[in-house]
Symmetry: D2
Subunit: 151 residues, 4 copies
């Protein structure tokens, strides 16, 4: 497999085999070293405030954490010479979120939510990503910054 | 109703009527101005990493966001003279998370998770809470800091 | 005075009369509601690591905190109808940093450092700004996110 | 030299030979793997708000960044078998702040300020510290959380 195929396979695995991503309906729609994207649809079960019908803050944090982890993973893959399954598993096994800041800008209302991430610090041990979440109208719902262990 | 009854009623409402708290099984077990507590049990659907069987970072962030919001809400209630339902709804309607930092210390493994929060900055507009999450063995899973709009 | 003159006057005051800004040589070079800018020159006394000759993290945090506060102040001024000195002082007297996240991306090396900020959440009580710091070669030194009390 | 002597020597070096620590008067008064302490006295040149006579946020951030770095350094030293100068320099050369969150709780007023730190995540690549700053009356001025590269 080439890198693009590897990335597609991981995107499918994380979308379809990670129980919590499935529970929330988080779908990885872009898995690239320069930019990643995660999308999910509004569902009643994601409501955190029943009086106002807005997303729970934990849903937003989950989407931002995932999309930042995806762009970090794409950078790990991009630096691998050996694309064997064993080496990919070993390398991604080191991936983990160290810390995550979420800035809630506007109430989480909309029909679809789009979270994107890009890398602002790339190292062989630690990577830092900046994330954003908008709704389908382009309204800016949240910002995030995440520090990830990558090696 | 006195303040204690009001707090109990809100705790029940947030535990039983907030769809996302129910989806995750988050239960408010202490609703007090000095300290709040949220508990939830391990469930397979909360897994974020199927190879390692650990909680999704978004679950941890959701629990920390909730428990910080609970202690902030308890401080709002504590400052109210008028405990009518209308005034309580109006006051709690202003509550919202501005930003949340989550520090992931150890892999999220365990049978039960206990998140606690206390207030470190108390104002009539903004409150800041510090949160912790342990598992049933007392292992420290995560720290958090949250800034909340309260007025 | 019109708004532009008021902003210029505050920029001069903060640059020349705030002892710590003077100590570090922080100069406000743009004071605008859409974007603010702070510049300072390399000085030996700003060194935090004598073996590597790089800026102390506190210098970077100070520049980011200031430039975020400037854009928050410009938004406060922009919303004022009454531009009397008394009203400006009263309004800016409420300005304060609630929390600040600094992400250190590269070692702080260079001859001049340029910090910029824009507002990502604008409210009548709380504003959130995102900041960046580059050196004169355009190398990205740091990112920041700050939450400010504005009313 | 034994570990205690090494720590004392580094504390002296960082207090006396780091230009920015000297400029601010930051003194390392405890250099220990379980807890570190930094103290500094009020000085007019540290003022960030001349109308209110309070510390600049950058001063607080600098003290928190330093005290967190000290406890991280003490943990690095504690894990070394080879206490030769060359090995210590090599090991401490990897130390760097990745990100820092500062929560400003109260106006920075007082005669002396005491910042303390303890480690909440200890790894061979990344460490996370939580910091606090009080004044001489025990008033709580600020909290901090810092993520440090340590290997």
């Amino acid at each position: 497999m080439n890198q693009q195929q590897v990335c597609q396979q991981i995107a499918d695995f994380w979308t379809n085999k990670m129980p919590f991503n499935q529970l929330l309906g988080l779908k990885i729609t872009q898995f690239d070293r320069t930019k990643s994207e995660v999308r999910f649809l509004w569902q009643k079960q994601l409501i955190g405030n029943p009086l106002q019908n807005i997303l729970h803050g934990g849903v937003t944090a989950a989407a931002l954490d995932l999309v930042g982890g995806v762009v970090a993973a794409a950078n790990i893959i991009d630096n691998l010479d050996d694309l064997s399954e064993k080496n990919i598993q070993k390398s991604l096994g080191k991936l983990g979120t160290i810390d995550l800041r979420t800035d809630f800008l506007r109430p989480g209302r909309g029909e679809e939510f789009i979270a994107t991430a890009c890398i602002i610090r790339s190292g062989n041990k630690v990577a830092v990503a900046r994330m954003e979440m908008h709704n389908e109208k382009g309204e800016h719902i949240a910002f995030g910054t995440g520090t990830y262990m990558v090696g």
